[in-house]
Structures are given as structure tokens and as C-alpha cells.
């Protein structure tokens, strides 16, 4: 099930170039990383679908509800943790979360009980009676997460949730986000440009850059064998390359492994195997070309490498 669907979403600020340009995509359920470099349009996209920036072109729906028509219902079922440092002046943590719970429709007593629960849950149990403005950066991140969870939403938007947090706090929050999705069925859309954090938790990622949609991928699909293999051979490379070409197997030099391979008198490639072909075909070509295969391993990329490849490929186009 797709929790967010966008059709031709375009948003401009005044006379500047569009922050979002004709974005058409669907964001699946689970934990989804909304990735892109700074200025890619991630926060703008979230604010558009939440109705915080109502003046945009195109169509958008959240949890099957139209963003323009069903804004209030969406906000009942959605939580939002903003990127910017946000707090309510002159309020303690418990007052602020209780207050925001009431604004989401909870009766006062239930909002207070719920505020205690979520503040304890995010690790602020001992600081609930302190003024929010006295919180450290990490505590404010936790506070913002608590405000987004107080009404038990189905979908939570997290805009750079880990920025400013210490390593221990990051791990705790990652655990918490993972638990929300896995154990409690919450959908989480997580905007970030810190890819290793996203990689630890997300099921899928959506890539934005310069206000444009660049692709959506399941994380397991990204980090496993996608038909690319790293190949190192000893022997006559030209004949072997020709043989592989006849089998529709494409080769590009392996820039990362080139230096090490050359020092050993080898040639290193990244081979793209078309559907229906596999390692056995490579070995057959090697046998026919009389070369020795020293390495044949699937290319496993991490999210950062894939992310850079996606953006780099698009730019080269």
C-alpha cells in the first residue's frame, strides 16, 4: 500500500526556481527514507503534503485522503517532527505535549496521560517538568518526536530526526523508529541526507534532487546483487571482452579496484549481466578465451554508493 501519492506536484517560492518540479511518485508503507542533498526539496515536499504550504500545483494524497479536501482528517492520522528547532514558549515538556495532544482532539486528562507515556517512551521521563527551552539539542529532538506521537498517528513524518544527537542517542532513536514500524505498524517517512542512518532502518528509499524525483527503491534491492559483478582476470583481456560482448554482457572498468588489480597484473571490470545469464556464462567465455578468472563476486553497494550513482548517472544524462 502506498501511503503518499503525488501527481505533478510543483511548488515555487515567489519568483525563485521551483523547490519541487512536477514530482510524480508514490511512497510505500513501512519505514521509507526520503533522501536527497540539502536543498533537494524534501522538507518542502513534506510541508506540501501536510498542508503547511497550501499553495502548490498538482495532486497529492496521504493515506488515501486528498491533501486539499481532507486536510483535517489527514492531520488527525499523521504526526510530524519538524526539522527546525521548535518548541512552545514558557511550557514544560509535559505541558507542551499535553497541549498539543489536546489540539489533536484528545480530552485534557487523556492528553495528559498520553503525554506522560510518550515522553517516557522517547527517553524524556526525567525531564518532563523542565522548560522545553532548557532542553539540550538531543532532548529537543526527542521532545519533537514525542509531540508527533502523542495522538498515536498511523503515519509519522520525521524531518532530519537525528540531527544534533550524540551517538548513543542516535542509536536509541533508531531503535525507537524501527520499533514503531515493526511492532506497532506505524508508517514512517524519514527525510534525511545522512544515509548510513537511513540504511540501518529503512525498508525503502525515495530519492529527490533539485526538486525532482529520481527514483524509488527497496533497500534490499539496492544492497544486493542487481546483476552487477566485480570481475578480475589474468590473460588476454581484449579477446575475453569480445566474448562477453557476444553474450550481451557489458563491461566497464572497475575504477575502485583498478590499482590493486594492475599491481597484480590483472584486469578489473564491473560486468553487467543481462537477465538469464550468470556466473557460468562468464566462466564459459573465460574458458573459450583462455583467460583465468581470479575474482567473480556480486557487487554489493551501500546506500551511499547507490545514492551517488543514481544522482551521478542522472547528471551525466
Amino acid at each position: 500500500m502506498d501511503v503518499v501519492e503525488l501527481h505533478g506536484l510543483t511548488k515555487s517560492y515567489g519568483g525563485r526556481p521551483p523547490a519541487l518540479r512536477d514530482v510524480t511518485m508514490a511512497i510505500p508503507g513501512g519505514v521509507v527514507g526520503l533522501l536527497g542533498p540539502t536543498g533537494a526539496g524534501k522538507s518542502t515536499l513534506i510541508q506540501c503534503v501536510l498542508g503547511l504550504l497550501p499553495d502548490f500545483d498538482g495532486e497529492a494524497s496521504v493515506l488515501g485522503l486528498d491533501v486539499r479536501r481532507d486536510r483535517r482528517e489527514i492531520r488527525r492520522r499523521v504526526g510530524f517532527m519538524p526539522e527546525s528547532d521548535a518548541y512552545l514558549p514558557r511550557m514544560t515538556g509535559i505541558q507542551a505535549v499535553r497541549y498539543l495532544g489536546q489540539l489533536t482532539g484528545l480530552p485534557r486528562n487523556e492528553a495528559l496521560r498520553r503525554a506522560h507515556e510518550v515522553l517516557y517512551h522517547v527517553g524524556l521521563g526525567e525531564a518532563i517538568y523542565r522548560q522545553v527551552k532548557e532542553y539540550s539539542t538531543g532532548m529537543r529532538q526527542r521532545f519533537k518526536l514525542a509531540t508527533s506521537l502523542v495522538h498515536d498517528p498511523d503515519l509519522v513524518f520525521l524531518d532530519e530526526p537525528l540531527s544534533g544527537m550524540d551517538p548513543t542517542g542516535r542509536e536509541e532513536l533508531l531503535d525507537l523508529i524501527r520499533d514503531l514500524a515493526r511492532s506497532h505498524g506505524k508508517h514512517v517517512i524519514w527525510s534525511s541526507h545522512i544515509l548510513p542512518d537511513v540504511e540501518k532502518v529503512a525498508d525503502a528509499v525515495v530519492v529527490l534532487d533539485k526538486g525532482e524525483f529520481h527514483g524509488r527503491f527497496q533497500l534490499e534491492e539496492l544492497s544486493s546483487d542487481r546483476g552487477h559483478v566485480r570481475l578480475e582476470i589474468e590473460g588476454e583481456a581484449a579477446g575475453f571482452a569480445a566474448a562477453l560482448g557476444e553474450a550481451d554482457i557489458q563491461l566497464v572498468p572497475d575504477a575502485a579496484g583498478a590499482a590493486e588489480a594492475e599491481s597484480s597484473g590483472r584486469t578489473a571490470w564491473i560486468a553487467t549481466l543481462p537477465p538469464g545469464t550468470g556466473g557460468a556464462d562468464v566462466m564459459r567465455c573465460a574458458h573459450e578465451s583462455d583467460v583465468r578468472v581470479r575474482r567473480l563476486a556480486p557487487v554489493v553497494e551501500n546506500l551511499e554508493q547507490v545514492f551517488m550513482r543514481i544522482l551521478g548517472r542522472e547528471e551525466s544524462n
Binding site: L52, L53, S84, Y99, Q102, P107, D179
Partner: protein
């Protein structure tokens, strides 16, 4: 222990809470009392109120009893109770105007600008509330405070003097002087609309509370000074009263005009000159309502998007 091990409990409640505007209003009203400046001014107001209540008693209520005991006839038979009360109200509200102006500045400056400064607006707007509900909640805070400073004291004094009437005449006296109630209510409405409108208008324009305080103080108190200076000039008054200097009118309603409705004495020339610069109560109220409409429009427009802070 991992955070998630503490457990996340789903919310199963079905109850519907209070309307969002009421929640915002109630919270904002209680937060106003956390401001030390507010507490000090509130204390000054209470002192001022007690002084004039006591003054009324000693110059009127007590005197009446003494006169009855010694001469067999009450003071009220010799003096007009209504006239005495109007004099007291006039002086009382002159002092209250200063305190009310300070209260309005202290409470009103942060109505929206505080939320802009702390970037709390997205925390509100992501809730199922409309921008007008947010603004309505904010807009009701100041009038609620002005009920205590502008409305209830006048009504209290009115009832007090009514109770001091000879036995059996209380109700007839109260019924016969409803114009005082009308003046007090007009005074409250003018103060509530003009101060709320002015503070909403300024507070929605910037996230700098200090700037809002400075500008609103300049408008409220310098406007009053301006009225006073202009009143000393011959011949200009009537020209500028309605058309010549709009800012003077706006300034005037923010301080002096709010007391105009209870200034019933027009005996001395100097007072008349000052009052000539102050719109009539009906006009002041209309301007206040206009200012309120402008403030509401500006605040709703500001609260309908986070685009400026995006």
C-alpha cells in the same frame, strides 16, 4: 535498556476534546500569569482598584452613614450618587488606561510573534485545526484579561453605589443609571477590540518580541502624548479629529479614546480640548472594530502557511 523496550502504547481513547480555539485560549490565558511583568502590573491594578473602592466608601458610603446619624439625612440626598460615581470612574479609568496599555503590550506582544520566534507554528498547523481557530484562541486572551481590568471594576463600583442607596431604592437607582453600565461596557469593548487588533496586527508581522513591544508602546503612549500636544493648538483640532491625521485617531483609540466613553465631565476647557481630539465613543468603537478586523485578517493570513519560515 533500549528505548523501545519501555514500550509504546497505542491510544484507544474515543473521547472528543474541547474545540482547538478554546484550548489555545485557555492555555494562553494561564501562561500570561507566568510573566513577571504581568504579575507586577496586575498587583498595581489590584492596589488601584482597592484604593478607589475604599475612596468611594469613605467619601460616599461612610459619609452617608455619618450624615444620617448626625443630621438625620443621607449624603445621597444632597449629592447625586450617579455624578459621584462617574467622577470616580473617570479618575479610576484614567489610571487603568495606563495599566491596561502596559498589560496589552506585555501579553499581546508575544501572541503570535513568540510562536514565530520559537518556530512553534508548524507544531500548531500540523494539528487538525484551522488557521482561524488558532487566531481566535489567541485573540480571546487579551479580552479575557481586560474583563478584569476594564469591565468588572466599573460594574462592581456601580453595584456598590447601588447597594449604598437608602433601603428599597437600590433597584430603582440601578435601573435608573443604566447609562453608566452602557459606558463601562462601551469602554471595555473599545479597549478589547482596539488593543487586540493592534497587538495581533503587530505580533503577526515579526518574530521579534522586542520590536513588537517597542512599536506598540510607541503607538499607545506616544499617540497619547501626541493627542495632548495637538490639543494645545488652536483651530487644528476639529480638522485632524477625523480626517487630518489618521495616525492620531489610531493612537487615540489605543489609549485615550478607551476612557472617553466614561468621561462624562466636560466642564473645563482644557479637558474639552483634549477630548476634542478623541473620537466619540461610537466612533472609537467602530475604529476599534476596524482595527480588530485588520489584526484578525493579518494573523489568519500569517497562520495559514509556514512559507515565510520555510
Amino acid at each position: 535498556m533500549a528505548v523501545y523496550a519501555r514500550g509504546y502504547r497505542p491510544y484507544r481513547g474515543q473521547g472528543r476534546g474541547a474545540p482547538a480555539w478554546y484550548v489555545i485560549y485557555r492555555e494562553g490565558y494561564s501562561l500570561a500569569f507566568k510573566n513577571w511583568g504581568f504579575r507586577i502590573i496586575g498587583l498595581l491594578f489590584v492596589v488601584w482598584f482597592v484604593i478607589w473602592a475604599a475612596g468611594l466608601y469613605f467619601t460616599f458610603g461612610l459619609q452617608d452613614q455619618v450624615d444620617r446619624a448626625t443630621r438625620g439625612v443621607g449624603t445621597q440626598n444632597m449629592l447625586s450618587a450617579a455624578s459621584q460615581l462617574k467622577q470616580t470612574l473617570s479618575i479610576f479609568y484614567s489610571g487603568v488606561a495606563v495599566l491596561t496599555g502596559l498589560l496589552a503590550i506585555l501579553v499581546g506582544a508575544g501572541l503570535i510573534s513568540d510562536d514565530l520566534r520559537t518556530r512553534a507554528l508548524p507544531l500548531y498547523l500540523v494539528r487538525p485545526i484551522r488557521s482561524w481557530e488558532y487566531v481566535l484562541g489567541k485573540a480571546l486572551i487579551l479580552p479575557r484579561i481586560l474583563v478584569w481590568t476594564c469591565l468588572l471594576p466599573g460594574l462592581f463600583y456601580y453595584l456598590l453605589v447601588g447597594l449604598w442607596q437608602p433601603p428599597g431604592e437600590t433597584m430603582s437607582w440601578l435601573g435608573g443609571n443604566l447609562d453608566i453600565v452602557e459606558s463601562v461596557v462601551m469602554h471595555f469593548l473599545t479597549a478589547a477590540t482596539s488593543y487586540t487588533g493592534l497587538m495581533l496586527l503587530l505580533s503577526a508581522r515579526t518574530d521579534r518580541r522586542g520590536a513588537v513591544i517597542a512599536v506598540s508602546a510607541a503607538i499607545i503612549f506616544a499617540g497619547s502624548l501626541l493627542s495632548l500636544i495637538m490639543a494645545r493648538l488652536e483651530g487644528l483640532g476639529q480638522v485632524m479629529k477625523y480626517a487630518g491625521l489618521p495616525v492620531n485617531t489610531v493612537c487615540a483609540i489605543a489609549r485615550d479614546a478607551v476612557t472617553a466613553s466614561v468621561r462624562t465631565r466636560r466642564g473645563d476647557t482644557h479637558a474639552d480640548r483634549i477630548l476634542s481630539f478623541i473620537p466619540e465613543p461610537d466612533v472609537a468603537l467602530m475604529i476599534g472594530v476596524g482595527l480588530l478586523a485588520l489584526g484578525l485578517f493579518s494573523a489568519i493570513r500569517r497562520a495559514s502557511t509556514v512559507e515565510v519560515s520555510a
